[in-house]
Structures are given as C-alpha cells and as structure tokens.
C-alpha cells in the first residue's frame, strides 16, 4: 500500500540529523499513525492529493449551505411583503450567504485545485510542508464549522459581509453572531496564510529540473499570484478582526464614533484586504480556463507570457484600488480621483486576458466539451461583469449605484459567472484525472445550460433593479412602491427569484452527475489522457500514485506533455503525433527513481487546528475554556516541532487488523 521506503540507518547517519531523534516515542504521547486504507488515514494524511479532495468536499458542502441561504433570500423577495424570513433572519441570511460563499467555498475550492494540481503541474512529489498543508485544511474546516455553530447559539452574524461599523457593535448586534464571525474568519485566515506560504515555497523551490518560471502552466502562475495576495492581505484583515474582537469582547472603542473613533478605519482595513480578496477569488478560475481553452482549441495559449504577466499585474495594481468601495464615504476629491484612475487601469490587464483567450480560440478546432462550455461562459459573463465594474470606477456613477442591486448584479457576474463557472470547468476537466472516471457529458450539458440560464435570469434583472434604485439588503418590497410597466420592481424580482431556482436545479444536476458517474456500471474507466492534455499533470497515472511520478521528468518546453506527444516536421511545419500518452508514460516509468521517500502521516496538524475553535469559544463564553485552548496550542506545537517529518521505522502504530497497509519496510513496487 504505502510506497514508502524508510531511510536506512546509513542514510540517517550520513545526513547527520536524525540520529538520536525518536520524538513521539520519547515524549510518551503517542506513536505516529501507520498507513492504512480506512477512514482514519484521511484524518492523519499529509498527502496533497487527499487534502485537495478533502478541501473540495468540504468546500462543496459549504457551497450547498451558502446556496440554500441564497435561495431563502430570493424566496423572501419573490412576492411583495415576503413572509419567509423576518428582518433579523434576513440580515443573518445575506451576511452568512456572502461569508460562506467567499471564505468557505470559492477560496477553499481554489485551494483544493491548487493543492491537488500545483505539485503535479510543476513535477513535484508533494508540497514543501505537507504537515502544514494538512494543518491548513483542518483550520479551514474547523473555522467554517465554528462560524456556522453561531446559528444554533443565538443567531449568526448579521452586519453584512463587510461588517461596517456601527452595525458591528454590540449595541446594534447584541447576539454573539459577530463574535463567531470575527473569530471564525481569524481561524480560516490561519489556513489561508499557512497555505500561502506553503504553496509559494512549493512553486518557487520544488519545480522539476528544467521547469523554469516561464515554463510553468498558467494555472500554477495564477495560484502563485493569488498566494502572494493572500500572504499580504490576510494580516490586514487579521488586524481588523482583532480590533473588532477587542471592541466587542474587551470594551475597546476602535470603531465607536461616540468615543471619537473613526469608522472609516474599519472600512480601510477591510477593503485593503477586501479588494485583493476579489482577485484572490477570480484568478484561480482565470488559471483554470487558461488551461482548458488551449486544450479544446487545439492551439497553444495565445501570448503565454502576456497572460502570466497580466495576472501578476492584476496582483500588483489590485493593492491600489481598495477605496473604490468607499466612494460614497466622503474621501475627498484627490483620493477619489486617484482610486478612480487606478480602478480603470486595472481593467487593462484583465481586458488583455480576455483578448488572449479569444485569440486562443480564434482559428482553432474547437471542441465544445462541458469544460470548454463553462470556460467560454466564463469569458462572456466575466466580460459583462467587468464592464459593469468599469462603471463603478467612474465615481459619480458609482455614488449613484452604491448599495443598490446594481452592485449585487456586478459582483455576481464576476464571482458566479466568473469564479464559480471556472471552478465548474475545473471539475469537469480534471475529474478523470482525480477519480479515473469522466463525468457524463450529456448530463453535464444540462448542468451547464441550466446554470447559464439560471445565472443570467437571477443576476441579469438585478442590473435593472439596481438602476431603478432598489437598495441591496432590503428584506421586503411592497407593490405600492414597485413602479410601472417594464420597470416594475416586482416583475424583475420575480424573474430573479425563479432564476435562482433554475440555478439550483443546475447545481443539483452536477451532484446527480457525480453520483451517476460513480454508481452506474455503464460508465467506463476514462482513458489516461481523455482530452489530449498539454501539461504535466496528465503525464502520470489517473489518479496519480502517492508519490505522483515514478521518475521526476526533465522539462524542455512549455506544454511539456504536448511536446512529448507531438513533433513538428522541420520542412513542412506539420504537427504529427509521435507517441500516445501511454507510450510517454511507459517511457518515463522505464527507469523509476529509487529511494522515493514520502513524508509520514501525523496526528499533530488536526490536534493543533482543533485548539483554535476551543480558544474561540473560550473568548466568547468562558476564560477557563480559553486557557485550555491556549495550553493545547502550546503543547501541540511542541509535539509537532519535535516530530521529524519522516518517522523512523519503530515509531509507528502497529497496523490495525484488516488495514492492508502497515509500517513494514516496503520497497516501492516500481514500474
């Protein structure tokens, strides 16, 4: 089972470091977990592929939760004087809908793809810090659960996802919802920060020989940009959340106007994080479609260096546009002008990407598979959302639109029509790689069209509603004030609400597709290279072995896998296939690496992550619980620090009966 070779004693002495280190045994706490095939293996795993799948499953669960919240919001607004929710529940619903979708679905789902595919795309066997990777996942999961326990403990956060003062104060939000919110996001922030450091180091340091930066797949490039954004954005929201917690739990007055504080401080801190966050959400999807469009256009990506660098440019300029969220707050003409200009400027690298994608498809032999459909829809819908975004850059127009449904329409076009469509494209594209089976194309088409129709039906009318002046976050509308004819608010609200049901049906079809694909006996095993892929993740088994590659490939080209399959005739310039994927793989595996040596499973990541929600409950309810949580952090950190990342043979649990695996020394079944 486990393809692990323990270091021989000679190796240990040669490296001079593991001598005399028998940590957990000597600590007398517990031995290291052995490899196994049971569910326990998922608790202690440090394998980036398993963690990627776990990120994906957990994030999809939160996607359903956030989606149901959205449907409740739309059902409240389907008719005048809605009775589905009362005003307080409505506030909680839109706050948690946004928080869930942003922090618990799109970000971790992007992390799922990054975890699974970045090491494969750069030709690495794992990430740089596998245990920290596991720790990040558990922080995300426990933080998300912690955040949602507020529903059962007096009500969830109700101040809107950007939680402006004074709505965030205990006076206006007396329940513990916002306390759960601020500490829950703090915990998921730990996940983002550790994940960012881990992936940056992985991408910069662990590329296969010959994999220069400018030979990396665009998805990896975009993940790198996103991790830098996270690295610098997360600490800013950390400060803001600490100040909020100190205000709510320890009586400080950081955002209390009556005490002379400046509520704009929160807005600045939040949006210095919040605007890079927008690019954190969209860039992974840009990366995914930049992989998919060339594959199904049978052409290389048009202007690869420009696409990579425009992503980096978005990353830089993204830091200089935060105050366009605050045009209505009275910043003064100079600030407004500067941020207005910067915001228009950031449309340029984004537009460059759109042009590159279109040029990639131009003249190509297009194959309209489901991942391709989702990618094309992203290009179209993101362009619509991007254009309404540019109208926000114009400050006078933005002042008119602030806090109306026009804003809601805009960001759902870029985030649902853009980010989420990109993630769905990724599901369909990479499913055969991860699970050996291809999702049904015919169900996938239904899934796609229902989502496109639903998404445009739901969010398209919101442009009208917003320009007519319907404020966002209002819990009821009345017939008396709905207006006449084409501009009747009621009509468009109804269309939008029905659209949300169509959209839900589309998502349901995706779930049905997954179940069908894995339950039905009619679905055959997918071929090794079902899409005629171009990048390194297709140059290994599906699903990849625990150590990813039997031989670490040497990279000579951008789109290495394509160049191993196809050759160009020197005189006629015709491209002909010279090898199949199976042949490429067989050739690579002919001389497998010896001494493949993977990191060992560990209990510490989940234990350390478990301590943070305990601290959170402690801050809210009881200082004794707080002390227990802090003690747990200190203890587990020491346990972790003294455990080498690769354990010695005698430092393992005995295998449980029937586990199949074990700690027995086992040479890799190579080839």
């Amino acid at each position: 089972m486990a393809i692990i070779e323990r270091p021989s004693s000679e190796v240990a002495i040669a490296s001079g470091s593991t001598v005399g280190v028998k940590p957990s045994e000597a600590l007398g706490v517990f031995k290291r977990p052995a490899a196994s095939t049971s569910w326990r293996d998922w608790i202690v795993t440090v394998d980036h592929k398993k963690l990627g799948i776990m990120y994906g499953v957990a994030a999809f669960f939160f996607f359903i939760v956030g989606g149901l919240e959205a449907v409740l919001i739309r059902m409240q607004l389907i008719a005048p004087n809605g009775k589905v929710l009362n005003a307080d529940q409505y506030n909680q619903m839109f706050t948690m809908h946004a928080t869930t979708m942003v922090f618990l679905f799109v970000m971790p789902m992007a992390a799922a793809f990054a975890n699974y595919f970045v090491p494969l795309q750069i030709g690495a066997r794992d990430v740089a810090f596998p245990r920290i990777n596991a720790f990040g996942f558990w922080c995300f999961l426990f933080g998300g659960i912690f955040l949602n326990t507020a529903w059962f403990l007096g009500g969830a956060a109700d101040g809107g996802w950007f939680m402006y003062a004074p709505n965030s104060s205990t006076l206006f939000s007396p329940s513990h919802g916002i306390d759960f919110w601020s500490m829950g996001l703090q915990i998921t922030g730990i996940a983002s920060l550790t994940g960012a450091i881990n992936l940056i180091v992985t991408i910069l340091n662990m590329r296969a020989p010959g994999m220069k930066m400018m030979r990396m797949p665009i998805f990896t490039w975009m993940v790198l940009v996103v991790q830098f954004l996270l690295l610098f954005a997360i600490p800013v929201i950390t400060v803001a959340l600490f100040l909020l917690t100190f205000q709510r739990s320890f009586d400080a007055t950081f955002f209390d106007v009556a005490s002379g504080a400046d509520p704009l401080l929160w807005q600045h801190l939040f949006w210095i994080f919040g605007h890079p966050e927008v690019y954190i959400l969209i860039l992974p999807s840009f990366g995914i479609v930049s992989e998919i469009l060339p594959v199904f256009s049978k052409k290389p990506l048009f202007g690869y260096p420009i696409v990579a660098m425009s992503g980096a440019a978005i990353g830089f300029v993204g830091w200089g546009v935060w105050a366009h969220h605050m045009f209505a707050s009275g910043l003064g003409p100079v600030s407004v002008t500067v941020f207005s200009m910067a915001t228009m400027a950031i449309a340029v690298p984004t537009g460059v990407k759109i042009v590159n994608w279109v040029m990639t498809m131009w003249g190509g032999k297009l194959q309209f598979t489901v991942p391709m459909l989702f990618s094309i829809a992203l290009v179209v819908q993101f362009t619509i959302g991007g254009l309404s975004g540019v109208t926000h850059a114009v400050a006078p127009s933005d002042t008119q639109q602030t806090d109306t449904y026009y804003i809601v329409a805009h960001f759902h076009y870029v985030l649902f029509g853009g980010a989420i469509f990109g993630l769905f494209a990724g599901f369909y594209y990479w499913w055969p790689k991860m699970f050996r089976k291809q999702l049904s194309e015919s169900l996938g088409r239904w899934n796609f069209w229902l989502m496109v129709v639903g998404m445009n039906m739901t969010f398209g009318p919101m442009h009208m509603l917003g320009l007519q002046g319907q404020p966002r976050r209002m819990s009821v509308w009345t017939e008396a004030r709905a207006g006449e004819g084409f501009f009747n608010l009621g009509f468009w609200n109804r269309i939008s609400s029905i659209g949300s049901l169509v959209l839900s049906l589309g998502v349901l079809l995706f779930i049905i597709n997954v179940v069908y694909t894995h339950k039905s006996k009619k679905v055959a095993i997918a071929p090794l290279d079902p899409w005629d892929g171009r990048t390194l993740e297709w140059m290994t088994d599906s699903p990849p072995k625990e150590h990813n590659f039997d031989t670490i490939p040497t990279i000579n080209n951008l789109d290495e896998f394509f160049h191993r399959k196809y050759a160009q005739d020197a005189t006629t310039h015709e491209i002909t296939q010279v090898a199949t994927a199976e042949e490429v793989l067989a050739e690579m595996n002919a001389h497998p690496d010896e001494h493949i040596h993977m990191p060992s499973r560990s209990y510490w990541p989940i234990l350390l992550a478990l301590a943070f929600p305990i601290i959170g409950y402690g801050v809210i309810y009881n200082r004794v619980i707080l002390a227990v949580g802090v003690a747990m952090v200190v203890a587990t950190m020491f346990g972790w620090a003294m455990e080498p990342s690769t354990g010695a043979d005698d430092d393992f649990d005995p295998p449980a009966p029937g586990d199949g695996g074990g700690h027995t020394k086992e040479l890799a079944p190579l080839g």
Binding site: V201, M206, T253
Partner: protein
Amino acid sequence: MADTAIAHGHDSGHGAHVTSTGLSNNKLAMWMFLGSECLLFGGLISTYMLYKGRVNSGPQPDQIFDIPFTSVSSFVLLMSSLTMVLAVSAAQRKDDRNTNLWLTITALLGATFVGGQVYEFTAFYREGLGFTTSLFGSSFYTLTGFHGVHVSVGIIMLLAMVGMISRNRIPGDKAESVEMVGLYWHFVDVVWIVIFTLVYLIPS
C-alpha cells in the same frame, strides 16, 4: 537522482536539499512569513498613528512616556540581536556549548525587555491609562502588546531551542533551525525600532 527525490519528499531541513532557487524551503518560508508580519504590524501601527491624539479622558501620550526608561529597555532588546548573531555563528561552527550560551543570553535580554514592558504598563495603568480609557490607550496597548507577545513567543522559541539542542532533539539541520529563530528575532527587533521611533520619540 536520489537526492532530488528526497528533496521533493518532505519538510524538515536537511540543509543540502536541491531546490529550484537554491534557498532552503524552511528559510524561504520564514522570509515569506516575516513579509506577512510586516503587514500585520503595518495595520497596527496605522491604527495607532490614527488614534494617538484622541484622548477624551486620561493622560496624554507625552504626559506618561518615560523616554529614558524605554530607551534603556530598547537598548537591551537591540543588544539581544547581537547575542543572537553570536548564537547563529556558534551554531554554524557546530559549537553546541556556545550556541546554548548565547541563546540563553538572548532569551534573558529579551525577558528583560518584556519585564520592562510589564513594568511600564503597570506604571501607565497607575497613572490612569487603562486599555479602555481612551482611543490612545486602546491602540497603544494593542500595538505594544502585540509586539510584546511576539517577543515572548521568541523567548519561548529560544529556550525551547536550548532545551532541544542540549538533548539533541532537533529534527533536521541544527544550524538552520537556530538561524530561523534568529531571523524571527531580528525581525521583532526591527519592528521595535519602528515602534519606538513612531510611538515614543516623535512627539504627538
């Protein structure tokens, strides 16, 4: 090939790993973390700068700051950077005895600084500046408190290092582990220089 295979496998420092940049994974990660910390202190310092003049009740900043006292404790903290350098250099010579000696001295100097901060906070509190007295008080205690916690975490790291070195319990490259604690320690010192200048020296 075996070497790169190992390099691609795990996360403890083996020093001689072949990496694409040539910098070890651990060190690169520490630099990234410190980059992130810059923004954390950036946010806290901005908050303080915004609120330092906002005193509705309680003492003003220049009424309570004891510049000579804080200068001495700042000097102590800066000297600890020197002893940290000596510890790293001893670790690179594989001289465990001196490594431990200098690490201990660094920790003691750091503890002196934290002790000074505790004394200072107590004195300020007696003079009427509580955490919630004014916005100045809240932001002052938050900023210097966060820094104090960072120094304290550093002290724990130093002492843990001493304990682990003397029992030969460090997984991976010992010199690099010491260097990593050193990077963190120097960073915390540099942040203090900024805080000391902005909070104490520049009059409000």
